[in-house]
Symmetry: C2
Subunit: 658 residues, 2 copies
């Protein structure tokens, strides 16, 4: 406890200033704390025994908390909008088992329902007269939406759709809120009318009775069972046996089916609703920042408190964070989490800009937004997911206990590598964009590519290179990414030249394509970091804060160069003989950041309640916390301290004749 207090006192970081910056100002921080305090002081959200609960207990408590939030806390706090709702969920912790209702069911009706449909359904949903989910994924189909097999066949006589699961693989599988709670679902299904398959459309289907919650006729429904994490979410399955719904349960803002079965093609582009998906991806980058910054808070605080090995006679054992390899591991991750922070902010801003252009039917920014948000989602979730595990492992044995808080963070973060688009699939989409722009650049010398990819027209290694210069760093990335894009494009053309068809040529280059998308996205992140710390808000900060952010920027930028040095050398961006200099700059910047480490994680401003970690306690009183925590262990509460397995099994063994 004294150690961490001393570290805080010695740190020169203006912690509060950084906190205000990260959350967008003092007012936002005060509001955040207001929400936190409301949760912390309400016994419904008590977490004392959280890590001891079974899957069923976790789920029940989560439903209880969710209902309590909707009916009591949210009105009291006047919480409106997706941003504050997520803040609240984030403080409460775990998953919100009713979240699909507000996050997917309602927005889909808003985005794709006709005016009449919105008028009918939204009041019901807003007032929780119904609880909705979004039942897209099937047992046999995830990322490839066009492959969904569920059918919605129109019957003009009854003016109804017949919703059906024709195969085992067409059973809906994974949707959250479906397993136990939802009364309704948006069901993407293959619309068939007049014998023709019109592709995937969205339908509203009632799943359970509003009287007694039993499944509606023709519907087999349930929970898909335990997962790696996500115990608080009722991910479900859903099988249709010719379920009938009225014609106007097809969401008809864009396409319609007339009473006689005539299919009316969409007039307006559905690209307008495309923004939602992008916003969710940008949100996942923000989410990656949150989860990794929590893990780092825990890991860095513990690495200050924990000591290992007496390296000099008569002295205390060395703090974990004073081992250079531990510093390297955790402080490069600290740089990474700031990198994720800045790029998530920029992606949200690009989204806002694009959206306002879209409202004027201008689609210019759309491809860039799509490419960049796909890449950023993939790389942010990859980095956060791996980073959290790295933090856990860096904390040794105690990291493996649920009480460390790490397992929960990892299990909640890692599925984001898959949902909202598998990361490899997303990176291939980013690659497609890069290859397309490269083609345009090559075919039209007057074409000027978007800012983030103008390395495709010019990328030069600077003379008299200075590895601490952000502009030089960017130039190195530009050379490297350009070479990666070139290599991928060449590989695709080679395939085409030897007669492969479009898919085979593309597929043969998949590894190179994913690599160029990764490289590009890292470049975008480095660029975002460098540009953001050059903005007025940062320039107005205390000089030391600016200095530390510059150190972190160097670490983020150079560490990737070092890790992927082969690619940079191959591209002619750097030489093998320069690696030692890069190593030295990284190590010297890490040493600069070391004394500010505790304040940097303090600046993330997570109360102990949110971290749920005996290792990450702000006061550093780790071992007391551990001892207190174990007092709640139900396994130790049996009569005379003797567990029932003794009488059932172990005693028999001890008394057996062997």
């Amino acid at each position: 406890m004294e150690t961490i207090a001393a570290e805080r006192k010695a740190s020169k970081l203006a912690t509060k200033e950084l906190t205000y910056f990260l959350y967008g100002g003092e007012e936002m921080v005060l509001r955040k704390r207001e929400i936190e305090n409301a949760v912390i002081s309400d016994p419904t959200y008590d977490i004392t025994k959280y890590h001891y609960l079974t899957r069923e207990e976790l789920f029940e408590q989560a439903v209880k908390k969710s209902v309590h939030s909707i009916t009591k806390l949210m009105p009291e706090l006047d919480i409106l909008g997706v941003f504050e709702r997520h803040s609240l969920t984030s403080v409460i912790g775990g998953e919100n088992p009713l979240s699909l209702h507000t996050d997917m069911f309602m927005p889909t009706i808003t985005g794709q329902g006709s005016d009449e449909q919105q008028e009918k359904w939204l009041p019901l949903a807003t007032n929780y007269k119904i609880i909705g989910c979004y039942a897209q994924t099937e047992m046999g189909h995830g990322t490839y939406v066009r492959g969904l097999e569920t059918t919605a066949t129109y019957d003009p006589v009854k003016q109804e759709f017949d919703i059906h699961s024709p195969t085992l693989t067409s059973i809906k599988w994974w949707p959250g809120t479906l397993g136990v709670n939802a009364t309704h679902a948006i069901v993407p299904a293959r619309l068939i009318t007049k014998g023709e398959d019109k592709g995937i459309h969205n339908f509203i289907v009632q799943l359970r009775s509003l009287d007694n919650h039993t499944a509606m006729k023709g519907i087999t429904i349930g929970d898909i069972g335990p997962k790696f994490g996500y115990a608080e979410m009722d991910n479900g399955f859903l099988k249709f046996e010719h379920v009938r719904i009225p014609r106007d349960n097809l969401l008809m803002r864009f396409s319609q089916v007339l009473p006689d079965g005539t299919y009316v093609r969409p007039k307006t582009s559905s690209k307008l609703s495309y923004g939602t998906m992008v916003l969710i991806r940008a949100g996942l980058s923000k989410f990656s920042f949150e989860m990794l910054s929590r893990a780092l808070t825990i890991a860095i605080r513990y690495s200050i408190v924990r000591r290992q090995t007496q390296n000099r006679p008569g002295e205390a054992e060395t703090q974990l964070l004073d081992y250079v390899n531990q510093q390297h591991t955790l402080i490069t991750l600290l740089a990474t989490v700031f990198g994720i922070y800045f790029v998530s902010q920029d992606t949200i801003q690009l989204y806002v800009k694009t959206q306002s252009q879209l409202n004027e039917e201008n689609m210019e920014l759309l491809p860039e937004l799509h490419a960049s948000s796909s890449g950023v989602k993939a790389i942010s979730t990859n980095l956060a997911s791996q980073g959290i595990e790295t933090c856990r492992i860096a904390c040794g044995g105690h990291g493996y206990s649920l009480s460390s808080g790490f397992p929960f963070l990892y299990q909640s973060t890692t599925p984001s590598m898959t949902y909202e688009g598998d990361n490899n699939v997303l990176l291939l989409q980013t690659a497609r964009y890069l290859i397309k722009i490269r083609k345009e650049v090559q075919e039209d010398p007057s074409y000027s590519p978007p800012d983030n990819v103008n390395y495709l027209t010019e990328a030069v290694r600077p003379r008299n290179i200075n590895f601490r210069s952000p502009q030089h760093q960017l130039a190195l990335y530009q050379c490297m990414v350009r070479a990666c894009v070139d290599r991928a494009a060449t590989k695709v053309s080679q395939g085409e030249k030897i007669g492969l068809d479009y898919f085979d040529a593309w597929n043969a280059a998949a590894v190179e394509l994913i690599q160029c998308a990764e490289a590009h996205t890292h470049y975008v992140m480095v660029k975002s970091f460098i540009e953001n710390i050059d903005k007025e808000e940062v320039r107005n900060m205390s000089p030391y804060n600016q200095f530390i952010l510059k150190c972190l920027s160097d670490i983020f930028s150079l560490n990737y160069i070092l890790n992927k040095s082969g690619l940079f050398i191959e591209a002619g961006a750097i030489y093998g003989r320069e690696l030692n200099e890069i190593r030295e700059v990284i190590q010297s910047q890490i040493l600069e950041v070391r004394p500010a480490a505790v304040s940097l994680v303090d600046a993330f401003d997570y109360p102990d309640f949110v971290l749920r970690s005996v290792l990450g306690r702000k006061d550093g009183d780790v071992y007391t916390a551990m001892w207190e925590w174990v007092q709640h262990n139900p396994r130790n509460k049996h009569k005379n301290g003797v567990h029932p397995v003794y009488k059932k099994y172990t005693r028999k063994l001890l008394r057996a004749k062997m």
Copy 2:
């Protein structure tokens, strides 16, 4: 199902031949299957509902299974020795909660007890009149054994030791079998006699009454609570309040305390018992092979069955394993798992050789064995742990379900990165050896270093390089590792030159030291792979099997060169312009292995029972398995299919006035 059958039919691999090779002959495989069949046919080991069990249910069942194995199955199968015992545990699945008794308690008495002590304690242990554990780790001390705080103060009047936990951090924490089951423990504690601290020694302490299993006087004992995995093991805590034990409960093979309190220093070196630790580390490499090969069996079978995206009109969707990036991910891991296999075999052989030398008081091989087993343990467990997660993530959403079997594999494997020596600490030990040998080489021109490190005397890039030549590959590694060792050594000397003390100089170079140890160990693994497939046993195999092993060897060797290309270029081993050629060799070898993929994982010979995975079923009937599995979900078994949360919470929300 047809797809996987067709793949099997088309594969040219002699699967059975490879299986016999991997397990050391037909006889071993038959014995393995005998054990498997005995377990599978015994209802005590039923796993139908395994993934649905709570932590408490898992633990109870595990104790039940363990007692049943000891009293019934093991005698019936005539199972003796650590190897077969582990095979049995491995088939039963999960952890064996009584394993510390046979794996640590008994071997420590055998290794460190005097003849009289062995005579007294071993019969009790062998016949399970007592159940022992090994209580070393404390809340505040893991890897650094010399820092343990528990005291054992000798009282010459009563001729007893007083065992005491003087601080919060000295509470024993983590030992398995301790939390619930153990009646006795080996307790490493600080021996104090005549006012002098003689360092850490091992004591036998009774923890629980043999009459009713309650804690002995002065002992506070219990389970430390839920972890990331290991639900079946009762990891425990143990606090001593001046607990008295007789003088002769100090294990006295090496050092003794006479009745009057005189301390007698060890005469014989305790290095003889050092072998056990090495054997455990070699065993962890084998364990890494097992766990990763299971994950690969699941991932590869599923990637054959699972299809995603219709890439050509009218054709079926593409099998996951036909995506080049998926091939790259899984087939490089397949190469890795063979790499782990060979090096674990070689480490065990080195152990045997060293042990027979040790029996003749020859310690020549000891440093090499120590360095190599430390590095191999670290790299094997790192690779397996990361590899299993890579497999899971490569299987998308379904990988995240417990029913995939991946989460269990990961959670059981990842702690091996920490236990038996934290991997970074172990790599630093390997580095210490490398730096030492380098120094000897430099100081004494006539010194001839051990085979695995003779690159320190000579390492040359071959002329007319052929990346498919194993000898050339090894030469490239030698250049690279040598450069890494040089760099680390230089960094240490630089620190010394600027006046850092020993620890600071060493610490400043920690990143480079860990890197050189990693590089060295990868080299050892590549060498082991190459040498093993050149042995008679492999040369007697069918040509196609040999060909596939050669492909895997190339992939294993070259993929690391590609991933760490910067290091190889920096060392002058390769040039940036050669990377494309390396990429092409890797990709062509992966394409060669692709048709044999299903047979390669079949050759690991895991019955479905062992895999516990709906995705990894041998018959490929994945979706049927998933549907059958979900029928067991207790969450769906409530009256009318309505979960209790409805009446408790959700109904209130649906009927609330909002």
